[in-house]
């Protein structure tokens, strides 16, 4: 929204620096809802905040919107500081020039769809639009989200999906640089959800606003995002494209939260080469597993975990020649349509693999499992999962 925003397209739409927000729960314990988060959203970017319920997604979004006062840190929107603990700046939400869609939609029940959508046009300071101009833009927004015929209806007279669309029109009508979404699709049924997701992506690409979208649904995140920020207890544990997050999860937490994963903990017994092509061999309960280091530094004796996805494992009736191969017995074969999920008991426990062939090996028969070296990730034991959640009570000096 800076006058020079157009000439300097590289100015991020959102910059969050070292943001911190703690809550004191009823029982007195401290919750780090936002724990030192740093994050940028570039113009035109669709960023998804992904994490399980309670990890601080909503709090982060509300802090950016100005609905929650952080304890410390900085938030800039389109180059303008809207919150800074160091500079003692805090702009109220109505002066941040952003839009937001709430999980409950938050449509005003006493206003028609038209009035709901017109409201942001009438409310922004320093601007007076004519009646006709407002009507024109409201209709345009309603048409855009495909509910032009609902303008005289009250929210109470609409279906969930329709309310959702009105909320979307209300968020888009000002054509702000930034639109925040707090799990907007979690309250509509699966079919409508898919449709809305699709429309949302094409609208965002067309209108060019930047989106910061909160969800706990990894499929939704994958589908919508240019980039995903995975949150774990108030921290951003990985920030990357959907592909990066899926292929190269930075931690075991990310790896197991996004998609299915086989895990085998163990100790490093050999490191061979470094850089991208280096390999590392891990002694696990299944036997030895070799994978790529992807540049990470491991030393012999480190406690690590070897991980691979079910779709990368292969099942054989007889011993294959691949370096990662282990004998076992098929415990179950679950046909799910597109593929069959085999559960195979190895020396260290059960692993899962997906194969397009439903009748590869009979249940209870012995078999071999193999996985390509390129498909095995070796990650250090998660630190975050051992970290204490609650800081000592004395630390809360700045919280109100």
């Amino acid at each position: 929204m800076q006058p020079d925003a157009a000439s300097a397209p590289s100015t991020p739409v959102v910059e969050v620096n070292n943001l911190l927000k703690r809550f004191r729960r009823e029982d007195g314990a401290l919750v780090h809802a936002i724990d030192d988060v740093t994050l940028t959203v570039d113009p035109g970017d669709f960023v998804v905040l992904l994490g399980p319920s309670g990890c601080g997604k909503t709090t982060l979004l509300r802090a950016i919107a100005g609905l929650e006062t952080p304890d410390s840190g900085q938030v800039r929107i389109s180059g303008r500081t809207v919150y800074s603990s160091a500079e003692r700046v805090e702009l109220p939400p109505e002066r941040r020039d952003i839009s937001m869609i709430f999980q409950s939609y938050a449509l005003w029940p006493h206003m028609t769809a038209f009035k709901n959508v017109a409201y942001p046009l009438q409310s922004r300071r320093g601007r007076k639009l004519g009646k006709d101009e407002i009507a024109r833009r409201v209709r345009q927004a309603l048409e855009l989200v495909g509910v032009g015929e609902l303008e005289r209806q009250y929210p109470g007279q609409m279906s969930g999906g329709q309310q959702q669309r009105i909320a979307l029109a209300r968020a888009l009508v000002n054509n702000d640089d930034l639109v925040l979404f707090d799990e907007p699709l979690s309250n509509v049924d699966a079919k409508v959800r898919e449709q809305l997701r699709f429309e949302l992506v094409s609208m965002q690409r067309e209108l060019g606003f930047s989106a910061l979208f909160v969800t706990h649904d990894q499929v939704e995140a994958m589908e919508l995002a240019h980039r995903i920020a995975v949150l774990d207890r108030g921290r951003v544990v990985q920030f990357g494209t959907p592909q990066e997050i899926y292929r190269r999860p930075a931690t075991r937490y990310v790896a197991t939260f996004i998609g299915a994963m086989n895990e085998a903990p163990g100790r490093v017994v050999a490191v061979d080469g470094s850089g991208h092509d280096g390999t590392v061999t891990v002694e696990t309960e299944h036997g030895r597993v070799t994978g790529r280091t992807h540049g990470a530094r491991h030393a012999v004796g480190d406690r690590v975990a070897a991980l691979w996805r079910p779709e990368h494992g292969a099942l054989h009736r007889s011993e294959p020649t691949a370096p990662n191969r282990w004998p076992g017995a098929v415990k179950a074969g679950l046909f799910v349509g597109s593929h069959t999920e085999y559960v195979v008991t190895l020396a260290g426990g059960d692993v899962r693999l997906w194969s397009p062939r439903p009748d590869l090996v009979a249940v209870d028969a012995s078999a071999w499992v193999s996985v390509d070296v390129d498909d095995v990730l070796v990650l250090p034991e998660d630190q975050s999962s051992e970290q204490p959640q609650d800081a000592p009570a004395g630390e809360l000096a700045t919280a109100s």
Binding site: L91, L107, S123
Partner: protein, 590 residues
């Protein structure tokens, strides 16, 4: 989807970021002043009473307490008060929880009928009920007694009076209980509604019978709500003046609240010292009840809200369904409809006699008694005006405070919230006495003025205003105003366009409750009003002491008609609004 949206015009000059919001804005400042005034008119009188108890004419003394303790018949009066309050509260507790359970948990429920009707006594002025019951069950002239005698005559039992006597222990306890039932019913219903049905279902699945589930799961888990209802019934009983005055007086049952009014209003010169000493007993008794409840409730941990408003499966009563329904409706009929019918009959009949001349009923008596009588007419005008204005001031002030408390979760906000609701825990009587002490004499000399009445009503009914306003504010929720702020609206605009329209039905309902309370009030009216500025409550007492029962019936009928009219209009309005998704209720009646 080919349309694109236009860019907004860029905001003119580059803005200077504002300082952090710490100082209260103009809106908050006004709210804080209002809160200070409203709390002041409760706390200062209370403090005045406490000080006066130990500090007379500039010296420390225990004279008021000594003179109170020397009061003849003090022990008997305290015993009578205790018996009356405890017995009527226990009875109300039994009736209220039974009604609530039948309504919330069984198929005896009949929608709005059984939801709302048991609450009606909460809205009717108790004084009207007391007079109505006197008309019904007075030993000789009571209408119901006469009807019963006729019935008994058919089976050969001839009675000259009775069979019932309202001016008795059981009569007084019964009527007090009827008026205390809504407090229990409201709280027990809420408790049952909020209880996670899974708790009860788990017990049933574990093999427990309905009865055992009720005893072992439902009742213990809803204990806090039930306890709160019981406590409210106790407080109501201690502060209640009109029912014991009208029903207990003739029976010689001596109650503290009645005695305080007598000492202040009907004794010359007023024995303020003793009245204050007695107020001290009331405060101690109320505090004791509160302390006991806290002790009992702290012993256990209680389950509350379950999943997403899941309504518990109702119990099929089978053949007992209709008897249960008849029981509920019968209760409503006896407790609420009968006394009102008696009032109306006597006032239309012109004078009080068991032989109603059915073909000769007319409004003449009511007109002469109420509208041709200058004093009564003045009293009526004063009461309606005070109800209108007092209700408006009360509910708007309370609404601003509720908004402030909801938006700021600071210690100050919590403190204000507690202070505003505190008068509910102190007897009305004591606050009214304090206001009399503080404002009636030097330096303000407000004695008998409309202003002192207005202040008294506001102080007394502030908690009810606050609870109604809380409901209105919480009905708006958090996200609707937030969505407005994110849309770019300033706080004042958010207030005008989002908070206010959504709160109006709730505020109208709250106003109606205050109006009804003020117009039907006897406590503050008895202590604070004077002959120069009479109000309905004061006039009713005058008429009662002069013994004109037909006039009393007419006045009470007018009171009931005014109450009912306001109630019906406001309920119709709020129901219409609820179609827009904005709901409200008058004292729990939707």
């Amino acid at each position: 989807m080919t349309a694109t949206l236009e860019r907004p015009a860029p905001p003119t000059p580059a803005e200077q970021p504002r300082r952090r919001r710490r100082l209260p804005g103009p809106f908050d400042s006004v709210t804080l002043v209002i809160a200070a005034v409203l709390i002041g008119i409760v706390v200062l009188p209370l403090g005045r009473v406490l000080v006066r108890m130990f500090w007379v004419d500039g010296a420390l003394t225990i004279d008021p307490i000594r003179r109170t303790l020397e009061l003849p018949g003090l022990g008997g009066m305290l015993r009578d008060t205790l018996i009356l309050v405890v017995a009527s509260s226990v009875l109300a507790f039994v009736i209220g929880t039974t009604l609530a359970w039948l309504n919330e948990r069984t198929n005896a429920r009949m929608g709005l009928l059984t939801d709302a009707l048991p609450l009606l006594p909460f809205l009717l002025p108790p004084v009207a009920g007391a007079v109505g019951w006197t008309m019904l069950l007075s030993p000789r002239a009571g209408l119901a007694n006469s009807w019963l005698r006729d019935l008994l005559g058919l089976v050969g039992i001839d009675l000259r009076e009775g069979p019932f006597d309202i001016n008795s222990w059981y009569g007084l306890i019964l009527v007090m209980a009827f008026y205390a039932v809504p407090f229990v019913f409201m709280n027990a219903s809420a408790g049952l509604r909020n209880l996670d049905p899974a708790l009860e279902e788990a017990s049933r699945l574990a093999g427990a019978s309905t009865w055992r589930t009720l005893r072992k799961v439902t009742l213990p888990a809803t204990a806090p709500s039930l306890g709160a209802g019981f406590l409210l019934a106790i407080w109501f009983g201690i502060g209640m003046f009109s029912i014991p005055a009208i029903i207990g007086g003739p029976a010689g049952i001596d109650v503290v609240a009645v005695r305080i009014v007598e000492l202040l209003t009907f004794t010359f010169p007023p024995q303020t010292d003793v009245a204050i000493g007695l107020s001290g007993f009331v405060v101690v008794f109320v505090g004791l009840a509160y302390w006991l409840q806290m002790r009992i409730l702290r012993r256990g941990r209680y389950a509350t809200l379950g999943g997403k408003g899941a309504r518990a499966r109702t119990l099929d009563l089978g053949r007992a369904k209709w008897p249960a329904r008849v029981l509920v409706l019968g209760y409503v009929f006896v407790s609420t409809v009968l006394p009102v019918v008696a009032l109306v009959l006597v006032s239309l009949n012109g004078f009080w006699t068991p032989d109603i001349r059915w073909d000769n009923l007319s409004f003449t008596a009511v007109t002469t008694a109420v509208f041709d009588d200058r004093t009564t007419l003045t009293a009526l005008g004063n009461s309606l005006g005070l109800g209108l204005v007092g209700g408006l001031i009360g509910i708007l002030g309370a609404a601003m405070i509720s908004l402030y408390v909801a938006r700021r979760r600071t210690a100050l906000a919590r403190g204000i919230d507690i202070a505003v609701k505190m008068p509910a825990a102190v007897s009305n009587m004591v606050i009214a006495v304090g206001i009399l002490l503080l404002l009636a004499g030097a330096p303000l000399y407000l004695s008998g003025s409309l202003l002192i009445l207005l202040i008294g009503y506001l102080a007394l009914y502030l908690p009810q205003a606050s609870i109604a306003a809380d409901a209105a504010v919480s009905g708006v929720g958090k996200e609707l105003p937030e969505a407005s702020a994110v849309s770019g609206a300033r706080p004042a605009r958010t207030f005008g366009r989002v908070y206010l329209p959504l709160m109006v039905p709730g505020l109208v309902a709250g106003w109606a409750l205050l109006f009804i309370r003020i117009v039907g009030d006897l406590t503050a009216s008895a202590i604070l009003a004077g002959t120069a500025n009479p109000v309905v409550g004061f006039r009713i007492l005058e008429v009662f002491t002069s013994g004109s029962f037909a006039l009393l019936a007419s006045l009470s009928t007018v009171l009931v008609v005014i109450t009912a009219t306001v109630l019906v209009v406001v309920l119709a309005y709020t129901r219409r609004m609820s179609k827009l998704g904005v709901s409200a209720s008058v004292g729990g009646v939707k």
